[in-house]
Symmetry: C2
Subunit: 601 residues, 2 copies
């Protein structure tokens, strides 16, 4: 493992998951081989209007797709596998290794996206070792997390052993009895770990994260006290929590109806693979529950984060076709709001209460625990693996900083760790860790219909903030307005009369035409005038926008439609369609190349 000086470094390039929680996507590269580790998605933040899904900038992988040898998946959460179907439309991944549950969830996604043929899914089990490419050997080490079947990976690379924790907490009393394989971690620690790449989510929080099992007695108490129907919401992917809830349902003799697409999907897969242990007759389709007494019903639903379209949100709004809140209902939020969702969640709680439900929520109820380890879990990970180098990942900047502070408190020197951002190229050799450059980073935004590029997003932001002003005008080949411009305002606040604005637009255009026409119109020497309609459009837009900003004291988007008559022709209003006028797209070919006035996407 000594560095002879000529050996290249291992490159570790996270494309997502740093300075954020979400879209975890990591590239491991050595010579001409790339191995990917997870590829997740994130959800839009404020100002990403109309966006449904956020992906990392994949330029680097598109450009280096020939190097991709395979992918390691650590577990089945959306922020670790949700990006894969999108990426497979752009490049193949020869093989994807991952645990059973994650592979089952992923297979469904690939099928839905029609990209099942772009890769091969292979299931791994604890302590399995797989080779990817010629140089990467990956060992799967069972860990504990909020989803079942989650793994830490030990990656044997040409520069040394790299351990990537995946997402983890240290739960000594796991619900499924599958203990964290601390022994294997310790063995690696004894032999020597070059670098630990570790989950930073809860690095700001002192102490240990409580065991998943700790919520059981609190939920049990709530179940035993609920006089009527129980509605319980949690993250659909929290398989352990679902196990506890279903176990309690059976114990309290409540029949379970499941509501919400993602909840149905996870439960189907998890039952199928044996991760949820409960009998078939525990469940009842939703339409069947009206025959059952309220105190015998449990409705398990999506919507723990107040997502507008989720079942529980629709129930709270009174919009759900089959479920209406009635007096005696108890709604249990077995999940804390993710920062950014707080307002949506408390609004949902308020609406449920207003409809007469008793709502049980909040940290002091002991009905939710995190799936990520706090500072003491993180210390135990460092203590067992004894890494030479340390790379905090999976967290916002301050979480990475805190995690590095924790590592430092355990004796890892500052020069042996780097705090990085998405796109940074971490170069790891047996003797050093450093940032050796940057690949394109950033986001790709997806809405219902496709990729939302930066220009469209900026337009939406401007439209949202200040609305849109449409101006339609016709200009003669002599550079004069053919009529008063027509103006439409949408989403614009002003106390000004529209006729006044119309006059001002007219004045601005007249002035601009007077000042600029001579430069923009010139004879082609054969008696025809050529006019730089594009240049004119740009000039007019600038001047009108300036006037609008000044007079409206806001900055609406401007759409300027210029209708230019055919030169020297006299179109008749009785000419039947298709008439050649006044659309610029029907202007004679000779002019079209320069005359794209009014043509924009």
């Amino acid at each position: 493992m000594s560095n002879n000086g000529s050996n290249p470094a291992l490159k570790i390039i996270p494309l997502g998951g740093l300075h954020e929680i979400g879209k975890n996507t990591c590239v491991l590269e050595y010579n001409d081989e790339i191995v990917l580790l997870d590829a997740g998605l994130a959800f839009p933040t404020d100002g990403m209007h109309g966006v449904n899904i956020v992906l990392p900038d994949m330029t680097y992988l598109r450009e280096n797709k020939h190097k991709i040898r395979g992918m390691i998946v650590t577990h089945g959460h959306e922020d670790h596998i949700g990006g894969i179907p999108f990426h497979l439309k752009q490049f193949d991944i020869p093989v994807i290794y991952g645990p059973r549950l994650a592979m089952a969830l992923l297979a469904g996604k690939l099928e839905e996206a029609g990209v099942s043929d772009r890769t091969e899914l292979r299931t791994v089990r604890p302590r399995d070792m797989v080779r990817i490419g010629a140089q990467f050997f990956v060992e799967y080490i069972r860990n504990t997390h909020s989803i079942a079947d989650s793994f830490t990976v030990a990656i044997h690379t040409p520069v040394g052993m790299v351990i990537h924790t995946g997402d983890f907490k240290i739960d000594h009393t796991p619900v499924d009895g599958e203990h964290f394989d601390l022994h294997r971690l310790a063995e690696h620690g004894s032999k020597g770990v070059l670098c630990l790449i570790s989950d930073s989510t809860n690095s700001e929080i002192p102490g240990f994260t409580a065991s998943e099992r700790s919520v059981y007695p609190n939920l049990d108490r709530i179940f035993s006290q609920a006089p009527g129907r129980l509605l319980v919401t949690t993250f659909a992917s929290s398989v352990h929590r679902l196990n506890l809830i279903l176990d309690l349902a059976a114990r309290h003799q409540r029949t379970v109806a499941v509501v919400g697409r993602s909840m149905l999907n996870v439960i189907a897969h998890a039952r199928n693979l044996g991760y949820l242990k409960c009998s078939d007759d525990l469940f009842q389709p939703l339409h069947g529950i009206n025959q059952i007494p309220p105190q015998k019903i449990l409705i398990l639903t999506t919507g723990s984060q107040g997502e507008p379209m989720a079942a529980l949100s629709r129930i709270a709004n009174g919009d759900h076709r089959q479920i209406k809140i009635r007096s005696g209902d108890t709604v249990v939020f077995s999940a804390n709001p993710i920062p950014g969702n707080t307002i949506a969640v408390v609004n949902t709680i308020d609406k449920l209460m207003m409809q007469g439900a008793k709502v049980i929520y909040g940290r002091d109820q002991g009905i939710h625990v995190s799936g990520h380890g706090c500072q003491e879990d993180q210390k135990l990970m460092i203590a067992l693996t004894r890494p030479k180098f340390f790379l905090p990942v999976h967290g916002e900047h301050r979480m990475l900083v805190k995690h590095a502070e924790t590592a430092r408190s355990m004796g890892i020197p500052p020069e042996n760790m780097v705090i990085i951002n998405n796109g940074d190229i971490v170069e790891l050799t047996p003797d050093s860790i450093q940032i050796g450059g940057k690949v394109p980073s950033g986001v790709e935004l997806v809405d219902n219909t496709g990729v939302v590029n930066a220009r469209v997003l900026k337009e939406r932001q401007q439209l949202a903030e200040d609305g849109v002003v449409t101006v339609a005008v016709a200009i003669s080949w002599q550079g004069e307005l053919l009529a008063t411009p027509e103006i439409h305002l949408r989403g614009v606040v002003t106390s000004l009369e529209r006729s006044l604005l119309q006059r001002w637009v007219s004045e601005v255009m007249t002035e601009t035409l007077r000042d600029r026409w001579a430069d923009l119109a010139r004879s082609d020497g054969e008696g025809q005038v050529e006019i730089d309609w594009v240049g004119l459009q740009t000039q007019l837009e600038r001047e009108i926008q300036r006037m609008l900003r000044r007079e409206l004291q806001s900055d609406p988007l401007l759409v300027l439609l210029m209708q230019n008559p055919l030169p020297h022709s006299q179109p008749s209003s009785s000419t039947p369609s298709p008439s050649p006028s006044p659309s610029p797209s029907s202007v004679r070919p000779a002019l079209r190349q320069r005359s794209t006035a009014g043509v924009a996407s």
Copy 2:
């Protein structure tokens, strides 16, 4: 105080502050006299695009302005006085009573808005009793809160004694030595309080709220450990906190530079009135601090909530002209994020850290306490006043519910309290409390330029989500398209070619014209054809919108511009401006009444 059956009820009508934190505005009405209690503003929530300020719907007061006898102000927070300048533009308030600091802050606002002549401000002191109208006697009872000079009010009304707590916590060691006048509350409790109207903000939190003074030793420790410049942010209005910080600055021999408009404003007023006790030479203008060693500097700044335009946010973005973060700087957040601001605050923290600052934040630091009482404070209030009826206010719905539960646990029967929403008319008699109807409630939204009505907001929401499609078309008097319609997309995501969309729009319009023209065009009997351009526009918009929804799988706003030539005229392209064509606003008068096609605001 007995009810002889013919006496009317006292009406208590909160127009704001219920089902929310913000814009506290309460109407007290008896016979033909109205007394207002506070009039605050709120800040926009998600989806209120471009909105700066939210006010309650003031319809009821506009319609009953002749009844207004005066206003009681309890303290100087924006959510209690911020609405007054806006309301005074709509109606006079003969007199406003309030404490010195609130009146000083309010006077500045009224002057700025140019409405100082619409009311008279009168300052009150502890235990002052004022008469408003013929029937309301209001006694000011000192309380403790995060802003100095805050009051609970005891209102003697014809139906009995009503106590409104204002905003309060119970702080036995107040920073300014001004103790809560618990004795006066107790006296009223002994004599008999008909109704307690009480602050519900922290009703979900068990225990007592810690004293403001408790943050002092923690800030002291941070001050003594900071190696370089200190930047401290808190709510500008937290006068007690400012006192502590300025005291510590003097103790640690740091010169103070103040940044941010609201911070400068509050400090000026509070120093002027003696609420901030510090010597002039403690302060230094910002431009003077470069001559001072870093460890002798404290910068007191706005931006504790991550507000985008606040000084600290601009510093974090590297956009502040005078202050750049350097290594050794310590930034202290002496404020918790209000729910909804969390993401903005943590982003600011991250950016400050990335620029090299040490940032101290978070609940476990003990550097912020709430200004509102928790459950035990609320119980003490109920215990001292011993009200017959109870009305929880100042809180979101679940907070009101929790507060009512607390009151019930102290023996107030459920039928003696009501949980209400903005606009509810609470009717209070010596024997009963009930909801007796509703006045218009809701919001009035204000942006830089004026009131944002519901239509404009809805347009902005649609624009933000799906963008705008502009279609320009000319239609002949024979009901035929004069050219291919012109289409512009802004903020729209689609993989469709624009020319294809153009063809589809054209087809939809041609079909609609074919199907509907006969109904829309009719002869007036004198050889002239009258065309229902408005009806046609509506039809065309509906059909185009339907096609766009289907083909784009989104719902962009549609702006349809119809240019209709003059009937039977042949406009020449060489006709100089102003030409009568093609703008509909220049269509001959006889037609204009029906032809408002394309005219919208």
